[in-house]
Amino acid sequence: MAPILSIDRVTKYFAGLTALKEVSFDLQPGGIYGLIGPNGAGKTTLLSILAGSIQPTSGTVVFQDRNVTGAKSFAMAQAGIVRTHQVPRPFRALSVLENVEVGVRFGRSQGSAGDLWDARRILEWVGIAHLADAPSVTLSVGDQKRLELARALATRPSLLLCDEVCSGLTEPETASVLRLLRKIQDAGTTILYVEHNLKAIMSVSHHVIVMNFGEKLAEGSPEAVQSDPSVIAAYIGRTA
């Protein structure tokens, strides 16, 4: 099966700092991929490049056999790659429903007439339909994270990039969000998930990629990665 995403030697320099160094991996469609690594490993930078928020210095990004290297974020969204933000960024002047409408009308679906994928259904699916008309700023953190997911899903992505979707959540909230992620995966969307909460990510991913100092350190099943000595050294070495 052809990979849905294939990145090859992606590199990013920021004024004197090498944030990413020749990172390469493939993602197969339909999985939940975890992306972990100590602070400063470059995970968010990589996510931002895949989402089109920033452009790589070199390397290629191929999505569904199309070269999308360097595309801006709205082009990525049109192609089918969408991200959520670590700190939720709702459109403050708009209600919850209107926030999702933005995704519906500008994402890949383009809000075509007769489309079943409408904003209310997405809110139901995500579990915050009861808040549809509330101003988006009045939501709790957990609900704001759900809104982030709803908005992103509204664009009908084939690849969803989740940035620390569980940070700041309690245990029950985390479990609930992870259930939602599995529901999204079951519906056919591939997920690449950056997270610090190792327990969460290991429980939901089928394949984990580990980064350190801007490079890919290891990848494999959660069990394999957890017992990989170089991964352990990276984490322990950092906290020592």
Binding site: G52, S53, F74, A77, A93, L94, F106
Partner: protein
């Protein structure tokens, strides 16, 4: 588009708010019946021109959040285009279309480089562009340079004709503004205003959306400039390209209520009245008023008059019903 559900009890005032503008329109349309003096008609005419420009600016600046200090460029270019074309024998309506087109072109020239800049830098860049255009127009001899340009009168002057032109344009502006506000395009603008990056992440193309809004706003402003030029029959760079005009253009929607449909209209009326009444008696006082208004609004009520009204009206209603 605040989607909070409204109960039946508050439906009556909403009906009143919908009817009021139509009533106003009817009154204005029947103006000759009131036998008002030419000065009053002039005041109304100028106010209607300001209404159009205020609404236009609000499309880009209020809905889209892109504050431009440079709208005088479109006003002035529209005025000169209309004047030049009328003098070349073009009929007045076509000259207004030409005026709008030239303004749209100018908006592309300005927007293409500057919309890559983030908010405040865009604002500063528009100051620069506006002043540069003014200097150039002051020195270009074909259009009379600093001494101005005159339209050769071929027909007798009918003040009401121009009044109705301004009224029609203002009505068009209001209709366009309402349409934008409730459309997909308006949603994109608001998303860009709230968080441009997040909007882009969801598939909104900020650059293209901003350029379109700029073009639409420029078209309306240019047409308004044309309407004014045809009335005044004499225009000069210090009058139409002045930095003060660019300032006034953004003051009106801010005072009235930035980002709303009727805020710019209210702001334009307030501005038009203050301007005409004050300019004769206390020439520099208007600076104090605008400056203080701006400061007060920024500090205490960013939503302008509309914001104040939104707070007062529920309280008044509660007092009347309670």
């Amino acid at each position: 588009m605040n989607g909070a559900g409204k109960s039946g009890a508050s439906a009556r005032p909403r009906f009143a708010f919908a009817v009021a503008p139509l009533l106003l329109l009817a009154v204005l349309a029947a103006l000759p019946a009131f036998s008002l003096g030419p000065n009053t008609v002039r005041l109304l005419f100028v106010t209607l021109v300001w209404v159009t420009i205020s609404i236009a600016w609000n499309i880009l600046g209020g809905f889209g959040g892109q504050v431009s200090f440079g709208f005088a460029v479109f006003y002035g270019l529209g005025a000169y285009t209309a004047a030049l074309s009328v003098n070349s024998g073009v009929n007045s309506i076509l000259s207004l279309l030409l005026a709008a087109s030239v303004a749209v072109l100018a908006s592309m020239l300005v927007g293409l480089p500057t919309f890559r800049l983030r908010g405040p830098y865009f604002a500063i860049a528009t100051i620069g562009v506006s002043e540069a255009v003014r200097v150039v127009m002051t020195n270009v001899s074909m259009t009379g340079g600093a001494s101005g340009y005159r339209i050769i009168e071929t027909r007798p002057f009918h003040q009401l004709e121009h009044f109705y032109a301004a009224l029609a344009l203002a009505v068009v502006a209001v209709a366009v503004s309402m349409q934008v506000r409730h459309s997909k395009f308006g949603l994109a603008l608001i998303a860009i205003r709230e968080d441009e990056e997040a909007a882009s992440d969801l598939g909104v193309n900020p650059y293209r959306t901003k350029l379109l809004a700029h073009a639409l706003a420029a078209a309306l402003t240019g047409a308004a400039g044309g309407v004014f030029a045809q009335y005044a029959a004499f225009i000069h760079p210090q009058g139409v390209f002045a930095f003060g005009i660019g300032v006034a253009i953004l003051l009106m929607p801010i005072i009235g209520g930035i980002g709303t449909v009727w805020g710019p209209v209210i702001g334009a009326v307030v501005y038009g009245l203050i301007q005409e009444e004050l300019i004769a008696s206390f020439p520099q006082l208007h600076l104090l008023i605008y400056g203080s208004l701006l400061i007060l609004i920024v500090l205490f009520e960013p939503a302008g008059i509309v914001g104040i009204a939104r707070q007062i009206v529920p309280r008044l209603r509660a007092r009347m019903e309670g």
